[in-house]
Point group: C2
Chain length 478, copies 2
Amino acid sequence: MEPQKDKTPLGEAVLSQVAELLRRHRLVEGLVSRQEMPRHGLVEGLIHKLHLVELQKTLDTLHPADIAYVLEALPLDERLIVWDLVKAEHGGAVLLEVSDAVRETLIAHMEKDELVAATENLDTDEIADLAPDLPSAVMEDVFRSLSAEEREQLRSAMSYPEGTVGALMDFDMISIRDDITIEVVLRYLRRLDEMPDHTDQLFVVDRAGALKGLLPVNRLLVTGPDTVVTAVMEGEPTRFRPADQAQDVAQAFERYDLVSAAVVDTSDRLIGRVTVNTVMDYIREETDSDMLSAGGLREDEDLFASVWKSVRNRWAWLAINLVTAFVASRVIGLFENSISKLVALAALMPIIAGISGNSGNQTITMIVRALALGQITATNARKLFAKEIGVSVLNGLIWGGVVGLFAFFIYHSWQLGLVMTGAMVLALLLAAVMGVAIPLAMQKLGRDPALGASVMITAITDSGGFFIFLGLATVFLV
Amino acid sequence: MEPQKDKTPLGEAVLSQVAELLRRHRLVEGLVSRQEMPRHGLVEGLIHKLHLVELQKTLDTLHPADIAYVLEALPLDERLIVWDLVKAEHGGAVLLEVSDAVRETLIAHMEKDELVAATENLDTDEIADLAPDLPSAVMEDVFRSLSAEEREQLRSAMSYPEGTVGALMDFDMISIRDDITIEVVLRYLRRLDEMPDHTDQLFVVDRAGALKGLLPVNRLLVTGPDTVVTAVMEGEPTRFRPADQAQDVAQAFERYDLVSAAVVDTSDRLIGRVTVNTVMDYIREETDSDMLSAGGLREDEDLFASVWKSVRNRWAWLAINLVTAFVASRVIGLFENSISKLVALAALMPIIAGISGNSGNQTITMIVRALALGQITATNARKLFAKEIGVSVLNGLIWGGVVGLFAFFIYHSWQLGLVMTGAMVLALLLAAVMGVAIPLAMQKLGRDPALGASVMITAITDSGGFFIFLGLATVFLV
């Protein structure tokens, strides 16, 4: 598949071209339905078709990934018009490229035989990626259409859970025996029509199929034909097992600048490979889902999902935050007596809670990142605590001083100012300790520290901040 | 450079091995300095050296990227012990791999000639990456040691700002003339010792150096020797200019699964290439810095930076938040009279502000993401507004109902409950409108919508939430 001819990936230019064609198409449609004049029906039907033909032409020049981009950016009704024009030819490839949410809307509008046809040009590892979204009747038909070897591959690819190497693996590797000469290798390669994408190296195996080494394709070009493979291959290559964590592979690709890597079974037999494009997609999806969950979205949301779907997607996070807000509210409720005596407390308390929440989130961002990079060990965790406590005390004195002055200038009470400063120092200390402790504890409990740590710290600094400030005020001022 | 032999990238195992060797080394050092017995000095000096030798041996087996990982995870003093052991051999490669913050600490502890030596094994595009961190005296020496062509490359690479294709480009491409035969190409390649990393294709140029096409290396293997290059090359290849946005290249690599791509000047002459490993690093850095700035950190922080450095790094965000907190505090101050009459308001007001802040952040996360993917156009922006308003009204009724009931059960006033519900609907509406409007406006002003949008929405929902709730309460209850 050829990328489109221009120098940059398809931008808004083509998107608005498609939108314009759709607009014209719908304009005519609108005319037809408004006037309901059968006499003009034929002419308008023709114009209508003309626009669709033009649209089809535009779409035909696009790479499936670009078609996917167009589909994502269109509202549902227009998305389906475009989809009808492309699904026959590019169906499978486009379904692989769109997001989960949009894929759902596309598959919902396809017949069973269209879906089966869409999988026909796909590799077994690609079918496995689509499988969770396909109706079981479709999957049965697909299974029947495959060869025995492909069925085995599909079954194996589907058996590995998301987030493992097995789920990223494909079966498009070229393997060669270690005891043959370069000439034999070259002859073998010439018999293939084309080599699979991302074939930067051939995998060298012994008689039993066990991985012995790697032969970079580039080395084939500069080696004499009589050399034996073992003499020029790279021994002891990096290898992965299907059950390994996908993030370990991603790290290996990033650190060692790999283009492809071998996947072997427990007896070291080559069973597949992972390529850099899959790894790049995986990394993108991971950071994407981190960003979404940090923002309180359960999953990727179709930009034009129904209101009801969006409400459900955002439900959990709002519910959790409501509970923590109720708790904070009750903490304030404990001090209603003090507030009614000194109403300035009500105006000042959000400052303490807010700043300590921000500071705690800074600490958590640092720690979560260091944990993701594997930089935190038992030895250096204590140093980190010490450092964060130092930062919070220094910040507490600086910002506590500022808010103390603020309180003094507004309410002309130096006692109130001092209580603000003291509360700020304590609240920032709390934020620092919890900001280190929460992600470390979550990691220890085997949970993802990126998930929910921010909600927890905010809950603690809110309730804690209110409690510290109102408590100090009650003791010293009221 | 060979990745280390095991199946996964260097994990905590090696990190703790290094830490253990360092601990033993320092134990002996501690003994020496505490006892100050010159008689034993020699023996302890020997043990001391023994541990360092063992450490050196461990480090020698590591890939520079793995050494970088170890350095990042060590406190400053231990980091420098390890650095002393590796800098002679791997200096340049490791400096390229570590984060900016850690690089600074390493360069600060190197002599001028060590720094010059470290750049000796680097390509010009890699030297350009280090250049901003190197003292100018070092750069002068480096310049003098280069050939005229390399100087030109270095100057050109340093002239492109971060975030452009020029900054990602390297000069390691192999270009061939379009009118020669495959046999000539193969003969030319055989004369090279080795082909550069990530050479998946040769760049085909005409007599004037203008890019004409691409010849995939794999196709070389399956093509007859007498074929002319033009007959088998891929014409009209994807190409970039050095001033293009780096994120456009990243998108092209992701969409079209590229391994390398050509960079041309304004007369279409080939001047460099971009490879997938550089693109992957760029994507990682981008998402990293998005995460850091979303968490309120100005830049990447050395895990063991001094307290003072960390305070400075986190300064700006806290200062901004302090200002918005002061504003919110003054909004509450406007209603002190109402609060002193009905102190329940003080306990309930953070609920409205908090939930609308969360909801606004959900909307912003969606919109910023869609903007980054180029999915928002003038046409569909209106639909998005409509959708988000629908979501916020529905959420307002649901969650407003819940908080209304909460208020009723705690304070036994149905009027208070109704005001809570009404305030929630209005506050969520405000959050939805601003959640769409802020990132769109920032985009229009040419600013990065990911930067600061979250701070702005929180400022607005805080002050706005307090104002709406206390205002409604003042009108209807007090």
